[in-house]
Symmetry: C2
Subunit: 103 residues, 2 copies
DNA sequence: ATATTATGCAATCAAGAGGTTGCATATGGA
DNA sequence: TCCATATGCAACCTCTTGATTGCATAATAT
C-alpha cells in the first residue's frame, strides 16, 4: 500500500468519481458503477483494478457478480501523509516568523 | 486547485521525494532539490512545475535563482478530501453493523 | 569585460496510461 | 436445457508523461 500508488490512483477524474459513487452508494457491481459514465465497462474495470491495487477498494465475489467497496484504511493513511507534511511545514513557518519578530 | 490535479501531482515517486525535501529542508533552488536524484535538472524542473500547477508549491524569484517552497493550504485541502470520504465510509460501516446486530 | 552559474525554452524520444473491440467463461433464470 | 447476464482476458491504438539533449538568456563573481 505505497503512498505513491494511492495518490496516483486518485489522480484521475474518472477514478475520483468512482470513489465518490462508492462513498455515497455503498458496495456496487461494475455495471452499476459505470452507469452514466461515458465509457465502456472494461475501461471502468481497469480503473477499479487500479483503485484496488492501491488498497482503496476491495472486491467480493458473489455468484457471477463482483461487489466493490471502499476500504477507508488507505484513505486514512494518505490523509495522514498529507497532514504530517502540512503540519511540519506550518511549524517551519512559525519558527521563521518568531525569528523575524525577535529582531 | 482541483482535487484531481493535487493527487495526480503527488502520484509520482520523484515528486513525493521533492515534497519530502521541501518539507524538511525549506525553500530551495532547483539545483539543491535535484542534487542526489538521478535525473537531469530539466526533469526536476518539470516535476516542480507540475507541483506548482497543482498549488502545492510556490516559487519566488531572487536574482538569477528561483526558490521553491511548499504551500500547506493545498496539502490541507487534499487531506480534508480524504478524511471526509474515510469518515463517510466509516459511518456507513457503522450503520451496517448496527443493522446486523439488531436482528 | 569575461567567465561562471542558474535557469528557461524547444525538439525529440521511449514507455505507459486510458480507451476500444471482440471473444471466452461462468452464473442465474425461464 | 437454453438463453440472457456479469464479468474476465487479450490484442490493439492513440495520446500523454517522464526524461534527455542542445542552445539561449540573465545574473553574479573575478
Amino acid at each position: 500500500m505505497s503512498t505513491e500508488k494511492v495518490f496516483a490512483a486518485l489522480g484521475d477524474e474518472t477514478r475520483l468519481e468512482l470513489v465518490r459513487r462508492l462513498t455515497v452508494g455503498g458496495p456496487q457491481r461494475t455495471l452499476d458503477l459505470v452507469a452514466g459514465l461515458e465509457m465502456s465497462r472494461q475501461a471502468a474495470t481497469k480503473h477499479l483494478e487500479i483503485l484496488e491495487g492501491a488498497g482503496l477498494v476491495k472486491s467480493e465475489k458473489s455468484g457471477r457478480e463482483v461487489l466493490r467497496s471502499l476500504d477507508p484504511e488507505a484513505l486514512d493513511a494518505a490523509a495522514s501523509w498529507l497532514a504530517k507534511r502540512a503540519m511540519e511545514w506550518d511549524d517551519r513557518l512559525d519558527r521563521l516568523k518568531m525569528m523575524l519578530e525577535s529582531d
